[in-house]
């Protein structure tokens, strides 16, 4: 069995956050849609719209988190490499 490099563990930890972020975005926007539905009597149109929007935004965040901006790597220091210690 090969030992996991600290860098892999860090990536794993950071990416574990993305799942919660995805779920929260989806849940929050669906909930806001549900509240708007109750207010305007449009059930379930706005909840569905919120959930769809949440799914889209959540997926965008997921993509940004995994691949980063313009493929330069996610939330990494300059050069995408661990800097000199």
């Amino acid at each position: 069995m090969t030992r996991k490099e600290p860098r892999d563990q860090r990536d794993l930890l950071r990416q574990s956050h993305l799942g919660l972020q995805f779920a929260l975005t989806l849940g929050l926007l669906a909930f806001l849609g549900h509240l708007a539905d109750e207010r305007f009597g449009t059930t379930p149109l706005l909840a569905f719209l919120g959930a769809s929007l949440g799914f889209g935004i959540g997926f965008y965040q997921l993509h940004q988190g995994v691949y980063g901006r313009a493929g330069r790597g996610p939330d990494r220091p300059p050069g995408g490499r661990d800097p000199e210690r």
Partner: protein
């Protein structure tokens, strides 16, 4: 009262200390004061020991140094570089404050007079996990949010910082949409920090209550099985206390790195 109701009430009701409710001092606030006092009690002697002799001597100084250096070498420097060392004191404070708050609920403390949900004063164990309520974790996440965005704005300037929220090179028509999406993403990040810490701390306590509650449901004899099982969960809770303090600090560092280096 059903066991489930009792657990739910105990976990969600924030009890004010008798006579101090008017100024908002609850058991959780008291817990934060205790955590802050413990921070001082830990780091004033540690600072004095390091000042006296840079070579760590004794288990206390060595243990703390291992944790501090781990956070520097495995969390801060990989994301912030050596320049990031100037932010380390704040990251260390986040870690140890959250750790102490997480651990406080696992140790029995003296009873204190509190005001129950019925308005009557009664005595209750003052031991509580301050991070087991979303008000505390939310405040910590809000502080972190303001801190890393503030530093990002200071490093790049307000206009450049706002411009950098949206990736460059996009068609102009997409910019407003992406701006809204990015703002939502920025707001979701501290929300996720808040929920993760709170849910983990409250979840562990719920499991402990439920397992101990089995004794009341199945009688005293069941404690032969229940207590060792609860003890195992208790040990897991200690691990979770460390892990969640680490995860919170780690993610704040990642967000700070993204705020300081928007192109990466």
């Amino acid at each position: 009262m059903l066991l489930a109701d009792w657990i739910s009430e105990h976990l969600t009701h924030v009890e004010a200390l008798a006579g101090l409710g008017a100024i908002g001092i609850s058991k959780h606030v008291l817990g934060m004061f205790v955590a802050a006092a413990l921070l001082l009690a830990t780091f004033i002697p540690f600072g004095a020991a390091v000042k006296r002799d840079l070579v760590p001597r004794g288990p206390f100084v060595n243990l703390l140094e291992v944790i501090l250096l781990f956070l520097r070498d495995e969390v801060s420097r990989p994301f912030l570089g050596k320049d990031g060392d100037r932010f380390l004191p704040v990251l260390w404070t986040f870690f140890f404050f959250i750790l102490y708050c997480n651990l406080l609920g696992l140790f029995p403390m003296l009873p204190a007079p509190v005001v129950g949900h019925d308005g009557a004063t009664h005595w209750s164990w003052s031991g509580v996990t301050p991070t087991g309520t979303y008000w505390v974790t939310g405040t910590l996440a809000a502080i972190a949010f303001l801190w890393y965005h503030g530093l990002g704005i200071k490093a790049q300037g307000l206009v450049a910082y706002v411009k950098n929220i949206v990736p460059s090179g996009l068609p102009l028509v997409l910019v407003p949409f992406l701006f809204v999406i990015e703002v939502i993403s920025h707001l979701i990040k501290p929300t996720a920090l808040m929920i993760r810490l709170w849910a983990n701390m409250m979840g562990g306590h719920t499991v402990l209550y439920v397992i101990i509650g089995l004794v009341f449901m199945f009688g005293f004899a069941s404690s032969i099985v229940v207590v060792p099982f609860a003890f195992a969960i208790y040990l897991l809770e200690i691990f979770v206390a460390f892990l969640q303090a680490y995860v919170f600090t780690f993610l704040v560092t990642v967000f700070l790195g993204a705020a300081l280096h928007p192109d990466h």
